[in-house]
């Protein structure tokens, strides 16, 4: 069985659970619970463990999607998820600048622990208060437009939009893998 494991991460309320629910062909394993901290004041439930979704596109080939816990606590669950992941999508709400700090923290955590390809998915990009993608990139610490991961707009409720984001991630992974193979060939 060949499986690609993709982690869907991002701050609370970025749409991780919805993203997985929208594209998964199985009923996602939902671990939403009543939020126990300040999150509870605006989002009644949040993911305490992780979400899981699956897309099987052949007898022995599948995509597995893992959503990180919603509340910002980097515990053993993150370690398990990252260790096995091939790539990840960071979901960020374009209209919530207060989330950029948490997104930046997640990025630093992921970069430090796993050198895997990634895509930034911008949700709520049509909101009147949404920041432009260029500015979100700067707020996340990507100062040069030539040295930043691909950024795509995502509507987590729309299957086409989610599928397009997934395609972007897989293309990014394929490119990264080809570069790695070329690099290995040069070294040997």
């Amino acid at each position: 069985m060949e499986i690609m494991r993709i982690v869907i991460t991002g701050p609370v309320g970025a749409g991780k659970s919805t993203f997985i629910r929208t594209i998964s062909e199985i009923e996602p394993v939902d671990t939403d619970r009543k939020a126990t901290d300040e999150v509870g004041s605006w989002k009644q439930k949040t993911t305490v463990a992780m979400d899981f979704g699956r897309l099987q596109f052949g007898p022995n080939v599948a995509l597995h999607l893992y959503g990180t816990p919603g509340q910002e606590r980097f515990d053993f669950m993150w370690e398990i998820l990252i260790r096995k992941a091939h790539a990840f999508i960071l979901l960020v709400s374009s209209h919530r600048p207060q989330d950029f700090r948490a997104a930046r923290r997640i990025l630093a955590f992921m970069r430090h622990r796993a050198k895997i390809p990634m895509v930034i998915g911008l949700s709520h990009a049509d909101n009147p208060n949404a920041w432009p993608p260029e500015d979100i990139a700067i707020a996340l610490g990507y100062l040069s437009p030539h040295n930043r991961p691909p950024m795509v707009q995502v509507n987590a409720l729309d299957q086409g939009s989610v599928a397009a984001a997934m395609m972007k991630l897989i293309e990014t992974y394929a490119k990264h893998q080809a570069e790695q193979l070329n690099w290995d060939a040069v070294r040997h």
Binding site: V29, V61, P97, E171, Q180
Partner: protein, 286 residues
Amino acid sequence: MKITGYLSEFSLGEIFRFLEQGQKTGCLSIKPVETETLSIAPLKHHYIFFRLGQIVAATHELDHQGLQQLIEQRGFIHVTTIHRLLKLYPLNQPLGLLLKTQGALDSQQLQLLFKQQVLTPIPELFSLAEGWFKFDANHPLPLAEMTGLSAPPRDVALAGLRLLRDWTPLMDKLPLPDSTVISLSEGQPPCHLNSVEWRVWEYVDKTVTLEGIAQALNLPVLEVQKICFRLMVAGLVEEIPNISIEPSPSSPTPLPQPAEESSGSLSQSFLMGVLSFLKPKAMKGG
């Protein structure tokens, strides 16, 4: 391009870092929001002007009179004299530079004016409990309010945060005690640090947590968190969160865990297959 929000959500230090790193030009306006704390003085609007990420002027009004009044208050030149000069020479450069070129002001006087206009009042803004901010990149630069001098927002933010007494609004933005910090610049920091910031800087990149730094330097952890926040706002370091060893407060449902096989390379046929599988879904939705 307009960017708006509340300072409680995106702090002034973070805004400054964003504007400096993005090399933004425009006007940042800040409207203080009344809070429960007693304030005898009326809350004034603040306008801070940026040119390519550097602070070039600050005012309370958009009437282009601030710098002229400041010059008169200092006893350097009467406003009427400035008006006469402006009839002779068009204002196609910062007013301060124009007056210097005409021999009406010298460099030292310009520096004093810039300090009074920018370097003294802006750091006090960091003490605002709450405020509504808006950055307007289309706002023209007010030459009449500009001395011709500029200051890096990083330095102004550091000065402001060093003065801050009440950190309550920033408590949820501080780096975590079990995080480490890594340097974002090579070699020495590109700005002046005070002695205690230097002592913390010595531990950057050494995989020591903030708690560990506090122990080593015999400082309260909160103090080290505040110092690291200042260094983060100055764009000098980045926080790297660690895995928490504390168990989750809720007991999660047993879940499918990632399969045990390694995350090795995926075959070309797999990648082509998954792209072919997703393409119709993407097109259907688009």
